[in-house]
């Protein structure tokens, strides 16, 4: 068993294939984990997907999995699987920074629920991945520490905010990864890198131990090489958690079959797919339009029925989101006071006796600790919640949010699933959209409505040549099985 594992062995390795290789003893968990670190150490120099590696802990966990396998225990499908974790998800005893200077020296004191579940399954965590600071951005250029490049074209961004996770997966620097999605932060980078990204229904996955950005919108989800892997990882991390009051158990199917892992394709093929006309208009690039139309054709050939639908309030989703999200951000990020968690100049702030008023400390720590985009959103959130503006902005946006949700409820009486593009264009160049924040915000116009309505949605690569282009499938609340089912059928045919 001492044969050297190389790049060839881990190229294209999925959770499924990894598990088969492990149980048939083609390789040990220890060997493969070592091979992953070897690859990451050379390849990540030019990509910058990881902020930190945790080699010792990972190899230790891999050894335990090998011992269990050798003792004849039945292993979970995720046992030994080398995963990458976005740096806003807490792993006890490990640094967790959300790519922010204000958390540069923070070490997590507990495990996020998703991490606890994955630890119980024996998964191995290779390291923490880069992201836009506090998950605010669509290109991973807002990280306080480094920029991540798109492994498919190093001059382009990997998307964001879970750009490090998507880049790690497509560059074979992890078998799969976890990201978080508040307005598209899993789906858009998956789209730009050519991998699969699932944003679960709001409440399907516990948010305990996820550094909160906008609590009514945030969800943790998988970024994987295949739809099948997304189903495997989603099943493992979902479910009711007493530490997140908004989390719920998925309804088990009446048939008792496992709809997520073994979809009933005869049933899946009968699902009716809606095409919202508001998502196929001006602003959509030729490459994206062509790739998505081609996919629709392929799905028609597979027997799916399509229907044109309308979601009339789509155009207001961006404004609605950029009022509600910053409002929640301004409240959630108030806890980062530069006194708890991490301090930027710890000794200076204590020893400088002459300028030590509390508000002075807050202003300085937060002024230096937060990046420009984070500050912009906190100020914007403070503004839309302030007396005199609350009704015109926040309260209005909450009502528009209701209308956007009702649009979906109406069309879901006629169709089962909705198909749309993920982003208006394929991956853009590094630096192309950093000057005007509004240009960057427009990246998310097709992903935001899903978060506002709390729906599940998945980004799946089309078969286009050149830069990756994905398509998005949106399902009804807690109907992840529908979108994962269509995705798995598409993947097999």
């Amino acid at each position: 068993m001492n044969n050297e594992l190389g790049i060839m062995d881990i190229h294209g390795l999925t959770i499924k294939k990894f598990h088969q290789g492990l149980v048939s003893k083609e390789f040990s968990a220890f060997e493969i984990t070592k091979a992953f670190f070897d690859l990451v150490k050379s390849r990540d120099k030019e990509i910058g997907a990881y902020l930190r590696l945790s080699e010792d802990a990972a190899l230790e966990r891999a050894k335990i999995v090998d011992a269990e396998l050798n003792s004849g225990s039945k292993l979970s499908i995720l046992a030994g699987a080398p995963l990458a974790i976005k740096d806003n998800i807490l792993i006890k005893g490990e640094k967790t920074t959300a790519a922010s200077k204000i958390l540069e020296n923070y070490t997590a004191s507990y495990d996020a629920t998703v991490i606890k579940k994955l630890k119980n399954s024996g998964a191995v965590f290779l390291g923490k991945t880069n992201m836009d600071e506090f998950a605010m951005g669509s290109s991973t250029e807002n990280s306080a520490f480094q920029k991540t490049k798109n492994p498919r074209d190093l001059e382009r961004v990997p998307g964001g905010s879970s750009g490090g996770s998507a880049a790690a997966v497509v560059a074979d620097m992890a078998v799969a990864a976890l990201g978080s999605d508040t307005g598209g932060s899993i789906r858009q980078p998956a789209n730009f890198c050519g991998v699969v990204g699932l944003k679960p229904t709001y409440g399907a996955v516990s948010r305990y131990g996820l550094i909160a950005m906008a609590s009514s919108l945030d969800q943790i989800g998988p970024i994987t090489k295949t739809v099948e892997d997304a189903a495997i990882l989603f099943k493992e991390i979902s479910g009711r958690d007493k530490f997140d009051a908004t989390s719920v158990d998925l309804n088990p199917p009446a048939s008792g079959e496992d709809e997520l892992l073994n979809p009933n394709f005869e049933k899946i093929k009968k699902l009716k797919i809606g095409l919202p006309k508001e998502y196929f208009t001006a602003g959509l690039s030729k490459e994206t339009e062509n790739a998505v139309s081609e996919t629709i054709k392929q799905l028609k050939n597979l027997g799916f029925e399509f229907k044109e639908i309308s979601l009339p309030h789509t155009k207001y989703a961006l404004s609605c989101y950029y009022i509600i999200m910053p409002a929640e951000v301004s409240a959630n990020l108030a806890r980062f006071d530069g006194i708890r968690y991490s301090r930027i100049h710890p000794h200076e702030s204590v020893s400088n006796q002459h300028k030590s008023a509390l508000s002075e400390i807050y202003l300085k720590q937060r002024g230096e600790g937060f990046g420009d985009e984070v500050k912009r959103r906190i100020i914007l959130g403070t503004f839309v919640l302030s007396s005199g503006y609350y009704d015109a902005y926040y309260s209005k946006a909450q009502k528009v949010r209701q209308l956007i949700k009702q649009d979906f409820e109406k069309v879901f009486q006629e169709v089962d699933v909705i198909l749309t593009p993920v982003s208006p264009t394929p991956a853009f160049k590094i630096g192309e959209k950093t000057r005007d924040p509004l240009q960057m915000y427009l990246e998310d116009i097709f992903t935001i409505p899903v978060n506002l309505a709390g729906l599940p949605a998945i980004s799946i690569p089309t078969r286009t040549k050149g830069l990756p282009v994905g398509f998005q499938l949106i399902g009804k609340h807690f109907h992840e099985a529908d979108i994962l089912g269509i995705g798995q059928w598409y993947e097999r045919n």
């Binding site: 709001y202 207001y316 404004s319 950029y322 710890p346 100020i379 009502k399 209308l403």
Partner: protein, 101 residues
């Protein structure tokens, strides 16, 4: 064109949000915010007179549990350890009153 947000408002907001904004960044921030707020103007055309305020995306039902203490897996030591500065079991914080001699 009417400005929605001016220098004075921005400074007040920054103070409320406890964020120091350096002089050279203020102008750009003001311009960015103005652009974003102008974009929000489109919401004026939406009629919401019959719409109820929304609090969340997914219907939630009450979940009851016994009101019993549970032992936390996170210990006091874990929390003290994660604090930036400490002395023994004490958390060290900066002095918070102005020293006016």
């Amino acid at each position: 064109m009417d400005e929605i947000i001016n220098k004075q408002t921005l400074e007040k907001l920054a103070e409320l949000a406890r964020i120091e904004i350096s002089g050279d960044k203020e102008k750009k921030l003001l311009k960015d915010l103005e652009g974003i707020l102008e974009h929000f103007d489109e919401l004026k055309e939406v009629d919401v007179s019959d719409v109820k305020l929304m609090s969340g995306a997914v219907e939630l039902t009450n979940i009851f549990r016994e009101d019993e203490p549970v032992k936390s897996e996170t210990t006091a030591i874990d929390l003290i350890e994660s604090f930036p500065e400490k002395e023994g079991r004490f958390l060290k914080v900066p002095p918070i009153f102005m020293n006016n001699e």
